[in-house]
């Protein structure tokens, strides 16, 4: 199907050893993402989808570690060597959009500096050039005027604005692959749709690939070409989004589908996409 995968994960097993027992958070998972492809990973909390994302980025928290398996980016191995070197190989090729915009931004650092770090890392670039790129990406993501926002601190922004900053940190380095780990879970329902729309647009305009982690099948249906369904650390089903949603094979997938439809009914009769308000508090 895909000739040269951008990201290839083979037989990945992530373990969290403790004194009593070793928890296998991800067990023998295979995933491939082609360039410009949009892939979703769905599953309930505890299914290992976030751990998979963190492992791909080399950001597992101790004592979690990759026990077996391989991760490669354009054929280059990412899972061996020490963690610092691994992360150096990833930088600017892969970037992550984190779940909680309230905790993933450094409270003592100006927005502009936090975004600039992602461009300047590992290469020499002149300051005005970096500043201009930061302002440009902030404005592209609807944070206007970019110059003023760049001078602010995280606590001076709303949740939706902060998540746009997190998005800017990921996009400003022009990565080939963006991994988004539940990018809207921490936000108000009204803001969720906006963030998803901006995420989708900015990925398309850059020709980047997207790996979207979500528990919300509806979100994945709107954004992704293919889906992996995860349960208890394993992939139970995968395929094209339309096939999976119309003709789920695994009972767990069917269960997820039913519960997401029920959520939708409960939430509102307005289609999900339209639920977000267009104006956000500044």
């Amino acid at each position: 199907m895909i000739e040269t995968p951008l990201l290839e994960i083979k037989g990945l097993t992530v373990e969290f050893p403790s004194l009593r027992e070793t928890v296998i958070a991800v067990g023998n998972v295979d995933i491939t993402i082609g360039s410009q492809e949009r892939v979703g990973i769905v599953g309930e909390s505890g299914s290992g989808k976030s751990t998979l994302a963190m492992a791909s980025m080399g950001l597992l928290r101790a004592p979690g570690h990759i026990a077996r398996g391989a991760i490669s980016f354009k054929g280059q191995d990412l899972a061996t060597g020490n963690l610092d070197d691994q992360r150096k190989r990833r930088r600017r090729n892969m970037a992550m959009v984190y779940q909680d915009p309230f905790t993933y931004l450094n409270p003592l650092m100006r927005i502009g500096d936090q975004v600039a770090e992602s461009i300047a890392v590992g290469r020499k670039r002149r300051k005005p050039e970096v500043k201009a790129a930061v302002v440009q990406v902030l404005e592209e993501l609807g944070l206007t005027p970019g110059k003023q926002i760049a001078r602010k601190y995280p606590h001076q922004l709303s949740g939706g604005q902060r998540q746009r900053v997190v998005l800017a940190m990921a996009l400003v380095g022009e990565p080939a692959l963006v991994i988004a780990d539940e990018p809207t879970t921490a936000l108000d329902v009204t803001v969720q749709a906006q963030i998803l729309r901006i995420l989708s647009q900015s990925i398309s305009s850059r020709g980047a690939a997207l790996l979207l982690i979500s528990h919300d099948l509806e979100v994945v249906r709107l954004l992704c070409d293919r889906i992996y369904v995860m349960k208890n650390g394993e992939v139970v089903e995968s395929g094209l989004t339309s096939n999976i949603l119309e003709n789920p094979q695994h009972p767990y997938t069917r269960q997820l589908l039913v519960s997401s439809r029920r959520e939708d009914l409960l939430a509102s009769s307005v289609p999900h996409w339209e639920r977000g308000g267009s104006n956000e508090p500044a």
């Binding site: 980025m57 080399g58 950001l59 928290r61 610092d84 992360r87 150096k88 990833r90 930088r91 600017r92 970037a95 992550m96 984190y98 909680d100 905790t103 993933y104 931004l105 450094n106 409270p107 003592l108 650092m109 770090e117 992602s118 890392v121 590992g122 601190y153 606590h155 001076q156 997190v166 940190m169 380095g173």
Partner: protein
């Protein structure tokens, strides 16, 4: 900005009030403490008539509250009284001793903060390294040792036995100028600073380590790693600045404790500062000097706390009120 100024003004008002209450308490406490300066000044053979005359001369026969009132009035004009023992105004006596103490305190603080923060930060990051595990144990030991004992050991080892460092005073008797004088003072500073800084380094490194451990677990550190920043960048740019907040608070409070350390260490090394003056004044029951010194110390501690608030405002943008 306006809110921040109001906040500072508010703190300043409190600081003045605290100083005022402290002055009254210090004055009264010293008067009710046992020991009569007249006995020390007049000598054991003095006749009661002479003692009475002396008491009247020094204003010690007035009721305590009257004395307090007179003292406060004089204080407002910058007059701290007249030393019984040194026969000169207390204010000029104290002023002549301020520089050596400020020098000792400043150098101690700078040395202690630089070493303590560096050791603490890397001990938190390189948790598994045996070197930094060793520093944690060393810190507990250093913090537990009394300063007078450490000081005397240093005098014995490096001053008397090895003869590397001078054991007395702030400078040599030879008259020196320029760089030679500065080097000479630095040479004299080495041991008192080492004595005072040992416990401070221990405290600051332990504090930094625990704060840093917590910070390094935060999500924004994960995000910094995700950007592919080097470990040095993560530690200094993202980690340390956040970990400094609790350390700043404690170092500010610690200044009060440092004063107690100065009395001991200056006495051990015969450093010509406020600490030695305090020790001598207490031995001589020199009330005006003791009162003046305590007031100066109180005001310095209050000022140090104000400064801590100010530094906090600079470091943490979240508490700047818009």
């Amino acid at each position: 900005m306006k809110g921040t100024l109001l906040f500072l003004l508010h703190r300043l008002m409190w600081a003045v009030l605290v100083c005022l209450v402290a002055v009254v308490l210090i004055f009264l406490l010293i008067r009710v403490a046992p020991g009569d300066p007249i006995g020390v000044l007049a000598g054991e053979q003095a006749t009661p008539e002479y003692q009475d005359r002396l008491r009247e001369q020094l204003g010690l026969n007035e009721p305590v509250l009257t004395q307090l009132w007179l003292y406060l009035g004089a204080l407002l004009q910058g007059d701290l009284g007249y030393s019984f023992a040194y026969s000169q105004p207390v204010s000029s006596l104290i002023a002549s001793r301020v520089f050596p103490t400020l020098l000792l305190m400043g150098v101690t603080l700078i040395v202690a903060v630089i070493i303590g923060v560096w050791v603490g930060a890397w001990a938190a990051v390189k948790r598994d390294s045996p070197v930094f595990r060793g520093t944690s144990i060393l810190a507990v030991i250093a913090y537990s040792l009394p300063a007078f004992w450490v000081g005397q050991l240093l005098v014995l080892a490096f001053g008397v036995r090895l003869g590397w460092f001078p054991t007395i005073g702030m400078s040599s008797i030879r008259s020196l100028e320029g760089w030679d004088l500065i080097l000479d003072i630095a040479w004299h500073l080495a041991m008192p600073v080492a004595t005072l800084a040992a416990a401070e380094v221990a405290l600051i490194s332990r504090l930094t380590e625990s704060a840093m451990r917590e910070v390094m677990e935060s999500d924004y550190i994960v995000a910094a790693k995700g950007k592919g920043l080097s470990q040095r960048q993560i530690v200094y740019r993202h980690g340390l600045r956040n970990a400094m907040l609790p350390v700043i608070t404690v170092v500010g409070l610690e200044l009060g404790w440092l004063v107690a350390g100065f009395v001991v260490v200056e006495t051990v090394f015969s450093w010509p500062g406020l600490g030695t003056l305090t020790f001598n004044a207490i031995q001589a029951r020199d009330f005006p000097v003791i009162t003046g010194l305590f007031i100066v110390i109180t005001v310095s501690v209050v000022l140090a706390n104000l400064l801590t608030d100010l530094i906090y405002l600079i470091v943490d943008p979240r508490i700047r009120i818009d």
